[in-house]
């Protein structure tokens, strides 16, 4: 891996990652502060099953359900996925479309090295979001009065990181194979959103419930890390998907013409 390429890719993504991380922590503290005041009354509301599934169970009456619905189901994966996908698309396909890679790859840099360095930068961005989620959970849960073990909060952050790796790797793979930023962003975002919808709705229809196994989101949240801790199976699947997609990206980029 090229240290210079990794450092620059990270530097260019860092402002977005840090501001998103700070915003996420602030939201989580606010969410924690709201729980004592409104959590129990919202928890008493009847929520349709489909909506409840979309929100990770929508068990607002408990601190675990409160944070699972707000952070675990929505903000966490949204931010981790969005930053991983847009970052991966921009750093690879975006620079190719902007013709910067035509100069960079005229240097003695292997294409697989370039892909690895840029993917590593995206990994760091996702880890920053996961760390922010973890810190925000600790502070938010403390503000809310406690009730979730630190291990379960760690579990959510770890599962979230692997979800970010997988969605980022998907964007890297499409970007490497096509050199098209909009296609990489669109395809990876579509898969992430479909994953969320499938994981939420497939279990409601008996004969479609098997579809959840095709969902990246299921391997992140299906095990309910905030309630049950680390799901090794989910992490293994997301890790394997990320590794396969990264390998594919290197091969695909090695074999094609640079577009611009």
């Amino acid at each position: 891996m090229s240290g210079a390429i990794f450092k620059l890719a990270l530097r260019l993504r860092m402002p977005a990652a840090l501001s998103a991380a700070a915003g996420l922590i602030a939201v989580m503290v606010a969410v924690g502060a709201l729980f004592p005041a409104v959590g129990h009354s919202i928890g008493a509301l009847h929520v349709p099953k489909g909506v409840s599934n979309l929100l990770g169970g929508a068990d607002y009456g408990t601190i675990t359900g409160w944070f699972r619905s707000e952070i675990g189901s929505i903000y966490g994966p949204l931010l981790a996925g969005a930053l991983a996908i847009t970052g991966a698309s921009a750093t690879l396909a975006g620079e190719e479309e902007d013709r910067i890679l035509a100069l960079v790859l005229s240097y003695p840099v292997k294409r697989s090295t370039l892909v690895a360095a840029k993917a590593a930068a995206i990994v760091v961005v996702v880890v920053i979001i996961a760390l922010a989620t973890w810190l925000g959970l600790i502070v938010g849960v403390t503000v809310a009065g406690g009730g979730i073990s630190i291990w379960h909060m760690t579990a959510l952050a770890v599962q979230l990181a692997f979800f970010g790796f997988a969605t980022g790797a998907l964007a890297v793979a499409v970007a490497a194979a096509t050199g098209r930023r909009s296609l990489a962003t669109g395809a990876a975002a579509a898969v992430a959103i479909l994953s969320w919808l499938i994981s939420s709705f497939a279990p409601l229809v008996g004969w479609l419930s098997w579809l959840k196994y095709l969902s990246l989101y299921y391997y992140y949240a299906g095990h309910d890390p905030l309630g049950h801790g680390i799901g090794i199976g989910g992490i293994a699947v997301l890790g394997a998907v990320s590794a396969v997609l990264a390998g594919f990206a290197m091969l695909a980029f090695e074999r094609r013409d640079l577009r611009a």
């Binding site: 910067i100 100069l103 240097y107 003695p108 292997k110 013409d257």
Partner: protein
């Protein structure tokens, strides 16, 4: 491959379909020469350069660069070559200094810092402002510095003086002469002759993806159509001159007739002698016109 060749291509082709691309390019660039690679926009010049650097793959043919195989030794070739893309793009948020530091790091220790600094001074490059705030000319200076900074054995430059003011162009031409004097090779692509005329030893002209001619500027001048401007005492009919053997064109403007011909001027002079001649002035064919002719049609 002959050791005296910096670049040698054999049937090098890149077919984009619909007649676009590069076809059967057989080209030899000698070590130590400044070689001009000319052609109109879309002729296949940039495609050739991108093939040589492994940025795109050929559909047929092969090439050796500095004695190395274009495909198998691509990384080593790129280590020993300096490249300036025609449509240079840099990271807009980086300053010129950061950009050069980054590219120096990619060279992996092959850059002499003092030499790089001397290039910065020579081109008076602005290293403190972000690239997106720089003018085209100032960005081009950064492009030139990065191409030359590791003192490569071969420089591949695509439209290098684009956007440069005349003073910087002069510095650039002086630098080309210096590196050529050190025995390094320069492969210089352009769509205008004036960009390469002063500095190239030989040049090639490409049109619609095919090589039309490879020769020195002097030889191209020698084979060019010659012209005589004849001033008569009274207007004469151009048609009578057009009918002469070897005459390719005759244009009358009042009492002045301009006759283009190939080979001997004998027939033209004898025909002119039938009238009262005030003056005969030889007109050297404008070199740019020679090239435009190559661009427009297949020379016979």
């Amino acid at each position: 491959m002959n050791k005296g060749l910096a670049i040698a291509t054999r049937g090098l082709s890149k077919d984009y379909g619909s007649g676009r691309g590069l076809f059967d390019l057989d080209l030899e660039v000698r070590s130590g020469e400044v070689f001009g690679f000319l052609g109109p926009n879309g002729a296949g010049k940039s495609t050739t350069l991108r093939l040589l650097l492994g940025l795109i793959r050929p559909t047929a043919g092969s090439a050796r660069v500095l004695g190395l195989d274009m495909d198998a030794d691509s990384s080593e070739i790129r280590r020993r070559v300096g490249f300036l893309p025609g449509d240079l793009a840099l990271y807009p948020k980086l300053t010129g200094r950061d950009m050069l530091e980054y590219l120096t790091a990619l060279r992996g220790g092959g850059v002499n810092g003092r030499y790089r600094d001397s290039l910065v001074e020579r081109f008076d490059a602005d290293l403190d402002r972000p690239v997106h705030e720089l003018s085209t000319g100032n960005r081009q200076k950064l492009g030139l510095i990065q191409a030359f900074m590791h003192q490569p054995e071969l420089l591949i430059l695509d439209e290098p003086i684009s956007g440069l003011d005349p003073l910087v162009q002069q510095s650039f031409h002086a630098l080309l002469t210096e590196v050529s004097g050190r025995g390094h090779t320069v492969f210089l692509s352009s769509h205008t002759l004036s960009e390469v005329e002063r500095v190239t030893h030989r040049l090639a002209i490409l049109r619609r993806g095919r090589l039309i001619v490879v020769d020195s500027v002097e030889n191209l001048r020698r084979v060019a159509t010659q012209r005589l401007e004849i001033e008569f005492a009274a207007p004469v009919a151009a048609e009578s001159f057009r009918a002469l053997p070897a005459v390719t064109g005759a244009v009358a403007d009042g009492r002045t007739l301009t006759v283009s011909f190939e080979g001997s001027a004998d027939a033209v002079v004898k025909a002119a002698a039938a009238h009262e001649v005030r003056a005969i002035r030889p007109r050297e064919d404008d070199l740019e016109e020679i090239f435009l002719r190559y661009y427009r049609e297949d020379p016979v």
